[in-house]
Symmetry: C2
Subunit: 252 residues, 2 copies
DNA sequence: CGATATAGGATTGTCAACAATTTTTATCTC
DNA sequence: GAGATAAAAATTGTTGACAATCCTATATCG
């Protein structure tokens, strides 16, 4: 298998990237646990877009049956983090430019609503929890821990949705935040979450002041800023399979 | 269980409700086709909330294997139209009051964004297509075809999302519209889509005039009107299983 | 009579072998 | 050597049997 060059993309998933600290061979784990691990690995970018997720490999990594892995892959596909190509396996999704734009536009809509409601419901304790996340995020950035920084940046947004108290919006945002991470992995941004840290504080402060309008504005600006700093020139169009296309003329 | 009274809830799914006109026994159909059929049956309220969807029954209805049915049920659960209770089967979901409120709040957020964008992109042809849907909806209501009226009312909202041109918002709205139908099935509204018909025209006209602000306002009013006319007093709380709860004390 | 325990039947969950497809490797021709 | 052809290996998709769980009906006891 595998030109072993490893130019940095689309290599096969190694068990180590997924199964976590303890070597694979553990007792059977629940679907949810496996989902969370793979989800985490993708969102924290230990698995690059395009990476093949072979069923056998995943079975060994987690020590479970193929049926279970298959279910998890179906769920990941539903979360738009994995693309299932019939008869040829599961791959970490490679969002298109179009998809990326739609995700960020949707985020502006969803997070505007979230922030508006969060402004009303914010209490001292909630703000303290938010601030704690932001401090942790800052520390992670300082010490160069990219994975933690990504996770905490996402946590900030998701916590706002939690404060807003709407589970539907929360679940939408969960999907959008995860997909955003994949988008940023695909379309660059050198120091992605770094630039956003101050924005986060701006939003948080507006919320503390109960200034919903300002919070909404800052959130929208924040999201637009990220989108505008993506490098969409680098779209890796799926190299259309000429053999398949030309092999079946329109007639038959 | 099985009080055969059939007060109108939670009866078992009959094959006829699902397999459509032709008697079940057809050639193997794709997952998507089965999904669409069950989805349609739920949204058009031929399957009441709480109805059990037995695997064997579905297999016979569609003439496919259990594995395939299981996959479809997983997808329906993901769409929040079906609830999977471990070891005891799949049931048409019974949204809680809380869930219902969240769905409508999310709709206001998503559809406000949709309408705003749709106002910019609306062309003559698009408006004509919208108007056609509304006329069909009106006719369906006139002739008392509730199922068609439900479908067309949903189509109006989904078509707006299509016009807005954002696939992410479209998929969110698709979920929300379907869930709304289930919510209305659960919490009443005598003539649900009837009252909304005029609202639809009001929104459409504002969009034709390119008046985004008015369209947003009318859409939000429309959605709030529906929510406020639901009968939340009738919540059928899941009768908590005392045996299970008390049978396992915190210790063991 | 009501409640609890038990056995039987039905339903869901899981696994391993089999079939179908794709990818790789090897071979042959120009 | 480039390209095409065909066998071999590897991977995905499906099926059917088995195990585990739950529901119902019957029997037993207070």
């Amino acid at each position: 298998m595998g030109r072993n060059q490893d130019a940095g993309l689309a290599t096969a998933a190694s068990a180590k990237s997924l199964a976590g600290g303890r070597g694979g061979r553990g007792q059977p784990v629940a679907d949810e646990a496996i989902f969370t691990r793979v989800h985490g690995a993708i969102v924290e970018r230990r698995l690059e877009p395009g990476t093949k997720l072979g069923e056998e490999a995943l079975c060994e990594a987690f020590g479970v049956s193929r049926a279970q892995i298959r279910r998890v892959l179906l769920n990941l596909a539903h979360a738009k983090l994995v693309e299932l190509r019939p008869n040829r396996g599961a791959y970490v999704a490679q969002p298109s430019v179009r998809e990326a734009r739609h995700v960020f536009e949707a985020r502006r809509a969803v997070e505007a609503a979230v922030v508006e409601r969060a402004a009303d419901r914010m209490t001292e304790e909630m703000f303290a929890a938010l601030a704690a996340i932001l401090r942790e995020e800052h520390q992670a950035q300082e010490r160069g821990d990219r994975q933690a920084a990504i996770r905490l940046s996402g946590d900030f947004h998701l916590r706002l949705a939690e404060i807003a108290g709407n589970e539907v919006l929360s679940s939408f945002l969960q999907e959008l935040v995860s997909r955003s991470s994949l988008i940023i992995a695909t379309y660059g941004m050198a120091s992605d979450s770094e630039c956003s840290h101050d924005d986060h504080w701006t939003v948080a402060r507006a919320l503390q002041d109960g200034d919903a309008a300002a919070a909404v504005t800052h959130m929208k600006q924040h999201l637009r800023f990220i989108e505008e700093h993506l490098n969409f020139a680098a779209e890796v169009e799926p190299p259309v399979d000429l053999k398949t296309i030309l092999g079946a003329p329109a007639g038959s």
